[in-house]
């Protein structure tokens, strides 16, 4: 170059430690997965990956109050980063528990499954810390690419592969659009750094520059895709339904948190001076999202699909917190993300438990009558549904209240009204689940043992490629491959038994949901840190 000595960037390894723990853990888990011993693979790997996440959580909490540059110009830690990290890692820990004895890691391979999970979380961490367009893109892809694979891990089930490929193609399309948007923003401002972009934006006055505006439009679409904002949400129901349920649970909560984390960073920091251009557009998208998500969820019989549409609607609510560009909006969004995490995990845990206990899969029929037979699962599901609907004394109510308050405060009162309308519609499908739990009798076919003609024939049938994992072997022979590839749910290795760790996740998350509704102050205090990260906002 021109005689200038290149200096390596200053790297704060202590600050990076949560990320390093995750990446190191991923490598170790991958190696341990190669061991011959079955116990090492089936229990050692999940245990190690849980320990990795716990270590990462500990390291995150260790530097809860730090706010500094980690890698010059690329990553920085602040309140939002740490709080989101806690959410990612907690979701990861729940996912490890939920997938411990699930089918997916058995079919793919334990080492790979957990290594991919950890890598995806590492991607989220990078995303939450990033202060630069390059790291944003890198983090986004690091989180997405492992997820594409994770969706397809139940390899003998056609829908799992289908969901993987769909997610991959539409996801890559979203990424490409996002990338092009980032390129245009870089072109307009000459910087990939958030601070640099904001500076150039306010100094030169780019708010009417077509290059900049197109860049923003493209990145709105790209991020909207990741956060399941309508009309870029269409992958969500299909992928959520097809993916193995623990993976769906992880995607639903962690990806959403990551996407909104970067939404807040990119729009409320780097592009804040163009707010007049993008805020109305995002508000319109939020409205479309709330309506599309809520009406789409009506009448769905697959619980996973219903929750997918519900997650679309919730994305719309949270987008309102981004639109208002205020510290209150940031706090409300992060608060809702945290509540959303626990209530959704509770619901998914119950679905997983019922998938293993019955042959009905994730159909609504699987939870019918569990109020009488399985109160340990019925209550968490009920609480989760009430909270998602926003009934008082649950975290969901406080979260929604907070968001509506932010919209009214930020001059978008009509958007708050849309949130209320959306919640009203949403009652129709949430209460339907509660009614099924408490007011119906358990269907006769409920308790497992392989049923040749279940209500979902598409998923019945065995695998032509014999060996996959112990326990599921028997089925392949029993039921003729009516349609190529799939597994009878009832034949899961659990043998129709409930696993304590799944019930634990359900109960714990439900308890946290209620706690957030009754004693919300600690969560408010935690979320306060995120607002502090945005010094440029009111």
């Amino acid at each position: 170059m021109n005689g200038r000595k290149l200096e390596g960037p200053a790297i704060d390894f202590a600050g990076l430690s949560p990320l390093l723990a995750l990446l190191g853990g991923a490598v170790v888990v991958l190696m341990v997965g190669l061991l011959r011993g079955r116990a090492a693979r089936e229990h050692g790997v999940p245990a190690l990956s849980f320990a990795t996440l716990a270590a990462s959580l500990g390291l995150t909490i260790w530097q809860l109050d730090s706010s500094e540059e980690l890698v010059a110009g690329a990553l920085a830690i602040d309140g939002l980063g740490t709080v989101l990290n806690i959410l990612f890692v907690s979701a990861g820990m729940a996912t490890v528990l939920l997938s411990w004895r699930a089918l997916a890691p058995r079919e793919s391979a334990h080492g790979e499954f957990h290594a991919l999970l950890l890598t995806s979380i590492a991607g989220m961490v990078v995303l939450a810390w990033s202060t630069n367009l390059v790291t944003v893109f890198l983090g986004l892809e690091l989180l997405s690419i492992p997820l594409y694979v994770l969706c397809a891990t139940e390899m003998r089930r056609a829908t799992s592969l289908e969901s993987g490929l769909k997610y991959l193609i539409v996801g890559s399309l979203g990424s490409a659009v996002f990338l092009y948007g980032l390129a245009l923003i870089y072109g307009a401002t000459g910087s990939t750094d958030f601070a640099g972009i904001a500076e150039a934006n306010s100094a030169v006055g780019l708010s009417s520059d077509p290059l900049m505006l197109t860049g923003i439009a493209l990145s709105v679409v790209g991020l909207g895709f990741k956060a399941s904002v309508a009309p870029f949400h269409q992958w969500t129901p299909d992928v959520y339904e097809g993916a193995p349920t623990p993976v769906t649970a992880f995607m639903a909560v962690a990806t959403k948190a990551a996407a909104f984390g970067i939404f807040l960073r990119l729009f409320d920091v780097a592009l804040i001076d163009s707010a007049t251009a993008w805020a109305p557009a995002l508000a319109a998208l939020a409205t479309v999202t709330i309506i599309a998500g809520n009406v789409g969820a009506l009448g769905q019989s697959s619980l996973k699909r219903m929750l997918a549409y519900s997650s679309v609607a919730q994305a719309g609510y949270m987008l309102a917190g981004v639109v208002v560009t205020s510290g209150l909006g940031v706090r409300a969004t992060v608060f809702y993300l945290a509540v959303y995490l626990v209530m959704n995990l509770a619901a998914f845990a119950v679905i997983i438990a019922r998938e293993r206990e019955t042959s009905l899969g994730d159909d609504l029929a699987a939870v019918e009558g569990i109020g009488a037979t399985r109160p340990v699962l019925a209550w968490p599901m009920t609480i989760a549904m009430l909270s998602l609907a926003g009934i008082p004394a649950t975290g969901g109510f406080i979260g929604k209240f907070f968001l509506i308050d932010a919209t009214v405060d930020g001059g978008y009162a009509w958007l708050g009204f849309v949130i209320v309308i959306g919640s009203m519609i949403s009652l129709a499908y949430y209460l339907r689940v509660i009614a099924a739990i408490w007011m119906r009798d358990a269907p006769a076919v409920a308790q497992s043992t392989p049923v040749p003609a279940g209500p979902r024939p598409a998923l019945a049938g065995g695998s032509p490629e014999g060996d996959a994992g112990p326990g599921s072997v028997a089925l392949g022979a029993e039921s003729p491959p009516a349609q190529a590839g799939a597994v009878v749910y009832g034949g899961e290795p659990g043998g129709g038994k409930a696993h304590w760790e799944v019930a634990l996740v359900a109960v714990l998350c439900a308890a946290l949901t209620v706690a957030a509704g009754v004693v919300p102050q600690p969560l408010f205090d935690l979320v306060q840190r995120c607002g502090d990260a945005f010094t440029n906002l009111v």
Partner: protein, 99 residues
């Protein structure tokens, strides 16, 4: 040469890629088209990098190449798995999940 020309070429490539994603039914070709879109962005990044006279865009482009390679790997892996399951290699046949 003015930056506009680079941008026009880049936009054209991006559009060709996008069009291909919408029209082609073979997932392999779809992956190819996605590559086109990513590389269109790369072209734009490098052009801008040149325009602004800083290296950020070039670093970005190199990272994008790595990511693109990963994506294709994964895509091919999934397609191979589907092939082994004797599933049709046609995106229009992937309609088990809908509604």
């Amino acid at each position: 040469m003015a930056i506009e020309w680079y941008l026009i070429v880049s936009a054209l490539i991006f559009s060709i890629g996008a069009g291909g994603v919408i029209t082609r039914r073979n997932p392999l070709v779809v992956l190819l088209c996605l590559e086109l879109m990513l590389n269109a962005a790369n072209l734009a990044l490098i052009a801008f990098s040149r325009m602004h006279g800083n290296g950020d865009g070039q670093i970005f482009a190199i990272i994008v190449m790595v990511v693109a390679a990963c994506e294709v790997c994964i895509g091919l892996g999934v397609i191979v798995a589907m092939y082994r399951r004797r599933l049709p290699i046609d995106v229009d046949e992937l309609r088990e999940l809908q509604g």
